[in-house]
Symmetry: C4
Subunit: 269 residues, 4 copies
C-alpha cells in the first residue's frame, strides 16, 4: 500500500509542477485561473447593496469553496515538497517550500480566511480581510505563461525601474515643498500643507491633472509649468527602459537562432 | 457566349484582387475609400438637426447608393470565388469566401441595411442600425496599403498587447475595489458603487483625469497616487511593445537587403 | 565696375548659403535667429494692454525693421539666384528660386506686411496679418542646425506619421458619433451635436481630459473607458515610430564608421 | 609628526574619492545619502504648523548638524585637493577644486546657511534660504551609483533634449499667442493675457489638462484639438530620444563583450 501511495504522490507532484506538458495540467491551470478571476468579480459585486442582499449567501459559499480548493492545493504542495527538494530531508524540504516565494504567496492566500478563528476581530478588520482575496491574483502569475513573460521583462530591468521610482519620489517631494511655499499664502485652504502639495505634484507629474488642485499665482504657474514639462520626461524614462528590455529579449532570441544555424553549418562542413 | 462570360469573369476577378498593379484597380480602391469616408461624414452631419431637416432626403439616397455599390461588390466577389479558390469546387469556394475574414466584413457591411425588410424593428433599433455604417471603415483596411502596414505591426504583437490589456483590466478591477472601500464612506454619492470607482480607475490609469471623480481622504489620495504612478508604467508597456515591433520590421528589411547583397557578391566571385 | 559688382555678388551668394563654414555666416545665422525669436516675444507682449500703450510705437518700429531686413534678404537671394541655379538662365533661375520651398517661406514672411498697401482691409484682418509674423519661425528651420536634425527624423517617417494621424482622425470621428448617440439624451446641452462629442474624443484620446465634457450614463462611461484605453495605444504608436527613426539614424552612423574602419584595414593590408 | 599627518591626509583623500571599493567608503556614502534624504523629510515636516511648534527646536539642531557635517566635508576636500590635483601646486589645486563641478555644488550646499551672518536679511529671504537645503539633493548624484547611470543616459542625449525643450517652448509660445487671439473676446477673464494662454498651452501640450482654462469657441476648440494632438508628438519625441539612449548603452556593452571574446579566440589560435 505504501507503494501505491508513492505512485499517487509522484503523480500529484508532477501535476502541481507548472509548465509540464501533461494534458491534465492545462486543465488545472485554466481551472485555478478562472476561480481567481471569478473571485475578483464576486468581490466587486459585493459592493452593490442590492446584489449583496440577494446573493450574499451564494457569495459566501463561493468564498469558502475557493479557500478550500487553495487549502487543499497548499497541503498537497506541502506533502510532495520532499519530491521537489529531494536533498533537503523530510522536514527541511517542507520548511524550504513554506519559505519559498510561491509558498509564501500560497500561505498569504489562505491565511486571512483562517485568522478570525484564532483572533477576535471587529467587523471593520473582517471586511478588510475579505478584500485580501484580491491577493489571489498573485497566484495567477504562476499559472499563466504570458503574465510570466511580462513579469520577466519587468524583473530584468528592476534596478532601472527602482531608480526611476526613487528619482520620481524625490522630484515629487521637491516639487511639493516648493509649490507649498509658493501657493500657501494665495490658497491657504487648497494648499493647506505639504501633503496637499504632494497630491498636486503626483497629479501633475503623472499628467493625470484632475483639476481639484492647481497653482493660481504667477510664480506658481511658472514653477508648475516646469514640473509639468519634467513630467513628460518622467513618462519617457520608464518607456525607454521597458522598450529596451523588450528589444533585448528580441535580440537574445535572434542570437540563439543564429548560433543554431552556425552550428548546423559547421556540422555540414 | 460562355467563353465571353468567362473572359469577363476573370477580368472581374483580377479587378477585385487588391494590390495588383492594374491602373483600374487603383481607381477602384480610391473610389471605395472615398465612398466610405464620405459616409462617415454623412453620419456625423446627420446629428445636426438643421442639416437633417434640410438634406435628410439626400443623406438617405447617398446611403442607398453606397449599400448598392457594396452589395454589387459582394455579389461579384461571390461570383468569382471559384477563381480565387480553384480547388474548393463550385459550392465549396463560395462557402470558403463567405466564411473568410474579408467575406464576413463585407457581409456585415450590408446586412444591417437589409435587416428591417425581414424583421419588424422599432425606431430606436433602426437608428442604431444606421450607425452600423461606421463598420464600413473595417473595409478600408483592405483597400489602403498604409493602414494594412500599421495593422500588421499591431498583429505581430497581438499576444503582448492582449496580455497588457488583460493586466490593465485586472489592475483596474483591484484599484476600483480598493478605492471604493476607502472612499465610499467619505463620498457616498461620488463613489456609490464599484462601477463608479472603476470609472475613476480608468480615468486615472489612462492619465485622462477628467476631474469628475477623485479621492479626498488621506488614504484615498495615497492609494490614488500609487495607482497614478502605475498608470505611467501602463503607458510605457504598450509603447515598448510597439516600438520593438517597428524596429523588428526595420531589421527584417535590412536583413533582406544584406542577403541580396551577399548573393550578388557570391555570383560575381 | 561690372567686375567689382560680380565679386560682391558672388560674395553675397556665398554668404547666403547656409551651412558654409565662413565665420561671417555664423554671425548672420545667429542674428536672424535672434531677430525671429525677439519678434515672437514682441507679438506676445502686444497682448498686454499696458505694454501696448507704453511701448506700442517701439513695437511697430521693431516690426518695420525686421520686415525690412527680411525684404533685403529676399531681394538679395533673388539677385544671386542665377549663381545658385547657373543652368536655368537669367529669368528661369529667379522663377526657380521663387517657387522653391525656401523661397516660398521667405515670400510668405514678408507678404502680409505689404498686403494692406495694395488691398483695403478692415482692422480685424489687419490684426490677423500681424500675427502672421509667427510664420517667421519657419525660417528658423533653415538657420538652425539642430532643428533641421529633428525635422529630418520626422520627415524620414512622414508616411507612418500621416497614417497615424489619419487613423487617429478616423477613430475620433467614430468615437464622437457613437458617444453623441449615447449621451445626447442624458446631457442634451453638453453633447449638443457631434462637434461637441468630437471635442470630447480629442480630450480623451490625447489623455488631456479638461473635465468640461464627459459621459455620465453607464453605457457612455463603458464606451468612454474603451476609448480612453485606446488613447494609450494612440500615444504608443507615434512614440514607437519616432523611437525607431532615432535608432535608424544611430545605426546609419555606426554603419558608416564600420565601413570606414574596414576600408582603412583593407588599405593597410 | 609631519609624516603621521601625511598618512592621515592620504587616508582622508582616499576616503573621499567616491567609487573606491574600500569598506569604509560604502558606509560614508550611505551616511551622507541618508542625511540628505532626512533633511528633505524635515523640510516637508516643517510645513505642518503642529510639527513646527512641537519639534521646531529639533529641526533646527538637525539642520545645524547637517551643515556642520557638510562644512567639515568641504574643508577636508579643500585640504586634500593637492593630492587629487598633484600637478596644480598648493594654491592652484585648491582653486581647481573650488571651481570644479563637485566643488561648486558643495559650496552651494553650505553657503546659504552662512549668508545671514554676513548680510542682514528679512524673514522672507531667510525662509527661502532654508528651502535651499533641497539643493543638497544634487550632492546625492555624486554618492549614488544608480543615479549617476540615469544622469549619464540623459547627458549623452543633452543636445537632442535641449532641441526638444526649445521646440516645445516655441510651440507653446505660438499656441499661446494664437489661442489668446481666438479666445480673448469670448472669455476675457479666463484668457486675460498671453500668460494665461501660455498656462493653457502648457497644460494641453503636456496632456495634464487641469480644466481651469480651456477654449469654448468653435475655432478655439479646433485649434486646441490640433495642439492637443501635437502634444502627443511632444511626448513621443523625448521618449524616442531616451529609448535610443538606453539601447545605445546596451549595444556598447554587447560590443565590449564581443571584442573580449574575439581577443580570447585570437590568443587561443
Amino acid at each position: 500500500m505504501g507503494k501505491r501511495l508513492n505512485t499517487i504522490k509522484s503523480k500529484v507532484a508532477e501535476m502541481l509542477v507548472i509548465n509540464s506538458n501533461r494534458e491534465g495540467n492545462k486543465f488545472l491551470e485554466a481551472f485555478i485561473s478562472v476561480l481567481i478571476l471569478a473571485n475578483v468579480v464576486v468581490v466587486m459585486l459585493e459592493s452593490f447593496k442590492g446584489y449583496k442582499l440577494k446573493y450574499g449567501a451564494f457569495f459566501e459559499v463561493f468564498e469558502v469553496v475557493t479557500v478550500s480548493v487553495f487549502s487543499v492545493e497548499y497541503l498537497l504542495r506541502l506533502w510532495v515538497a520532499d519530491i521537489r527538494y529531494p536533498k533537503a530531508g523530510t522536514v527541511g524540504s517542507r520548511v524550504k517550500f513554506v519559505l519559498s516565494g510561491g509558498g509564501l504567496i500560497d500561505l498569504l492566500a489562505i491565511l486571512p480566511f483562517y485568522l478570525p478563528f484564532f483572533v477576535t476581530t471587529d467587523l471593520r478588520v473582517l471586511r478588510s480581510l475579505r478584500l485580501m482575496r484580491l491577493l489571489w491574483i498573485l497566484k495567477l502569475n504562476r499559472y499563466s505563461k504570458s503574465m510570466r513573460l511580462v513579469g520577466q521583462v519587468l524583473m530584468s530591468k528592476k534596478t532601472d525601474i527602482f531608480v526611476t521610482v526613487f528619482v520620481t519620489l524625490l522630484l515629487m517631494s521637491i516639487a511639493a515643498t516648493l509649490m507649498y511655499d509658493i501657493e500657501h499664502e494665495a490658497q491657504p485652504d487648497v494648499f493647506a500643507n505639504v501633503l496637499d502639495a504632494f497630491w498636486w505634484s503626483i497629479a501633475t507629474l503623472t499628467t493625470v491633472g484632475y483639476g481639484d488642485i492647481y497653482p493660481i499665482t504667477g510664480w506658481g504657474r511658472f514653477f508648475g509649468g516646469v514640473i509639468a514639462v519634467l513630467g513628460i520626461g518622467l513618462v519617457a524614462l520608464p518607456t525607454g527602459i521597458i522598450s529596451s528590455a523588450f528589444l533585448e529579449q528580441l535580440d537574445a532570441q535572434k542570437e540563439k537562432k543564429k548560433k543554431k544555424a552556425e552550428k548546423k553549418k559547421g556540422v555540414e562542413e
